[in-house]
């Protein structure tokens, strides 16, 4: 116990987060063995893990770097479709599904990271709500471009077109991988819950070490006071870009994991509403708080399923819960009321002693 007490506060929080993820993994495994795991929950495990990862990535931008991004689904989309293309085009040369999944996730992360650089350099010059609207615009552009994207593979390699499947000019043995608005079809499912959990732990290691490093401190200094940080010699654009690109790459990895869990995936899955959904996870979990983000993303992904007995009313209830939670956690009167209850309870404890 003495050993735990000596640890730094952020190290404790980091280990708490690893603990939560690993505990969740084993809890699910135990439920599966004892037969308590319902089919609907089983089908949601990989989406839950993917959304937790994207939410962590967005928290790096919104919470740590202090920039509002409304287009993170776009990075997921880039990662998802590049991951699908890679995993399907190397299917013959690499028979091992685990290795293929790793390659797909890495390529997805790399391409989403490139998209992050391309978008980040112009976007990060802007501030506040203007930055938010430009990320929204980029998210919509990515969705639109993906809607017009046709990719096929044959003996000669990968063909890409923005017009239709006929203009791909493929050989007779060719296979269409991405079919415009229909998206990718006939995907071999590669994602497993275990692979997702491992990816989640790796992402946690990356994010938590980045946040607690010198670079992370510089990023937070810029968030708290850009002018003061700049005057102290912190390169602003460089650090903002580090946070943004890391976040984009992680979102891409999560996108690849998510897409390889389904047999078909369409570009409209990653639209503005998905970006907003991820933002809701981050804000409800607590901006800048990784533990909160993990719990909020997991619970809120499951919530529509848990509310199933309300049938048609479940999304309505979801909306009301969202509004009430925001008001309860942000209204000064209610907060001081809750704080008051806590204080009086403590006082009573003191009186009893």
């Amino acid at each position: 116990m003495e050993f735990i007490r000596k640890l730094k506060k952020h190290t404790k929080v980091s280990f708490l987060n690893y603990g939560i993820v690993i505990a969740f993994y084993f809890a699910v495994q135990i439920m599966a063995v004892t037969g308590h795991l319902s089919n609907s929950l089983k089908g949601q495990l990989i989406p839950i893990v993917s959304y937790v990862i994207v939410a962590l990535a967005l928290n790096l931008v919104v919470g740590i770097s202090g920039e509002l991004s409304l287009g993170h689904a776009g990075f997921m989309s880039v990662g998802a479709f590049s991951g699908v293309v890679v995993s399907m085009s190397v299917a013959d040369s690499i028979p091992n599904p685990g290795l293929r999944l790793v390659i797909a996730i890495l390529v997805g992360a790399a391409l989403a990271g490139v998209a992050g650089v391309v978008i980040g350099i112009p976007v990060l010059r802007l501030n506040g709500d203007y930055l938010a609207i430009v990320t929204l615009a980029f998210g919509e552009i990515i969705k639109n471009v993906m809607n017009c994207l046709y990719v096929g593979v044959d003996g000669k390699g990968i063909h890409v077109s923005f017009k239709d499947t006929a203009s791909l000019g493929m050989a007779a043995d060719g296979k269409i991988l991405i079919n415009g608005p229909m998206g990718a079809t006939g995907i071999t499912k590669l994602s497993t819950f275990m692979a997702g959990t491992i990816l989640l732990v790796i992402v946690l290691v990356i994010i938590q070490n980045l946040v607690n490093s010198r670079t992370g401190l510089a990023i937070m200094a810029i968030r708290d006071n850009r002018i003061a940080a700049e005057a102290s010699g912190v390169p602003v654009t460089k650090h903002k870009l580090i946070a943004f690109v890391t976040s984009a790459a992680i979102a891409g990895a999560a996108g690849a994991l998510y897409a390889l869990n389904y047999s078909t995936i369409a570009p409209k899955k990653f639209d503005f509403n998905t970006s907003i959904l991820i933002l809701v996870f981050v804000v409800l979990g607590g901006i800048g708080n990784m533990t909160g983000t993990i719990i909020a993303a997991a619970l809120l992904t499951m919530l529509p399923e848990l509310l199933r007995k309300f049938a048609d009313y479940r999304m309505l209830i979801y909306a009301i819960v969202l509004i009430l939670v925001m008001i309860a956690t942000n209204n000064e009167k209610i907060r001081s009321f809750i704080r008051g209850i806590g204080k009086s309870a403590k006082k009573e404890d003191g009186a009893n002693e």
Partner: protein, 290 residues
């Protein structure tokens, strides 16, 4: 070419009317009201129901939807946004998203997901010949409505007591309170006007594009928000200019480049404008003080 231009201006006028609501609310409450697009949808449904089910004349139906949306705007503001007056802008943004989900799903329960076909309320007006192209009456009326609303709003904010109060609150809330302005009532009033305009926009939008679904308002809402930023958020002429330009760019993109990529073109133009002029076309440059 001329036909495309007219269509573009007409679509842009609808965006402009919606963008006015966005821009006024942003100017005064400094919040992005993402539920605004869904108020448009409610406006569309109310006038659809009063025309189709109750058999009311179109003019009365429009008035009814304006009345319902105005009340809806005040209720939303009072229940969801007022408790968060001093909260962070992100908290208010998420609440607005919650309201948007609520309106969409309530509409889904009341009117189901089946597409409703909106009646052509200007069917007995003749089409107008202009330079060899036929212009539908709804196009002309949309453009006229936009101009009337624009002039009325400008007069309202510059001449009336309430309008001046609105401008004062948007400049400096604290100072406005000290001058005896009721800030809460002013903000409610802004929401009322914005939502009433959204109802008019809803009727015009549904007449021009006669399909009505619970998600009808979402995309025009985002586009109008883009238009408001494009013209400089917080500025009334900016919203008008941004809306019309956006509509024209969208229609020309559809006609000459690609139907599927027209939205991408609209957003790309927005990004370029914001990179060159970060506060939008007519926005005020606010100096950053150390």
């Amino acid at each position: 070419m001329l036909a495309n231009l007219i269509n573009g201006i007409s679509l842009g006028s609808v965006y402009a009317i919606i963008a006015l609501g966005y821009t006024m609310v942003y100017g005064i409450a400094k919040m992005l009201n993402f539920a605004h697009g869904d108020v448009i949808m409610v406006g569309g449904y109310i006038s659809f129901c009063s025309i189709t089910y109750l058999g009311w004349p179109p003019a009365l139906a429009v008035l009814a939807s304006v009345a319902v949306c105005t009340v809806l705007g005040i209720v939303i503001e009072g229940l969801a946004y007022k408790p968060l007056r001093n909260a962070t802008s992100l908290a208010v943004l998420i609440t607005a998203i919650g309201v948007s989900y609520f309106l969409q799903n309530a509409a889904l329960l009341i009117w189901t997901s089946n597409t409703k076909v909106f009646p052509n309320i200007f069917a007995n007006l003749p089409a107008i010949q202009m330079g060899g192209t036929q212009v539908a009456p709804v196009t002309v009326i949309t453009v006229l409505a936009n101009i009337v609303i624009m002039v009325a709003l400008t007069l309202f904010t510059s001449r009336t007591k309430m309008g001046k109060a609105m401008r004062a609150v948007s400049e400096d809330k604290g100072a406005a309170t000290l001058m005896g302005i009721n800030v809460n009532r002013t903000i409610s009033m802004t929401f009322a006007i914005g939502s009433g305009l959204a109802a008019i926009a809803g009727v015009l939008l549904c007449t021009a594009y006669p399909t009505l679904m619970p998600t009808t308002g979402a995309m025009p809402g985002i586009k109008a928000f883009t238009a408001a930023v494009f013209g400089g958020i917080g500025s009334i002429p900016g919203a008008m200019l941004g809306g019309v330009l956006l509509g024209v760019i969208e229609i020309f993109g559809k006609a000459y480049v690609s139907t599927q990529l027209s939205d991408a073109i609209v957003f790309a133009v927005l990004i370029i404008v914001l990179l060159v002029k970060p506060t939008g076309l007519l926005g005020h440059q606010v100096r950053e003080k150390v």
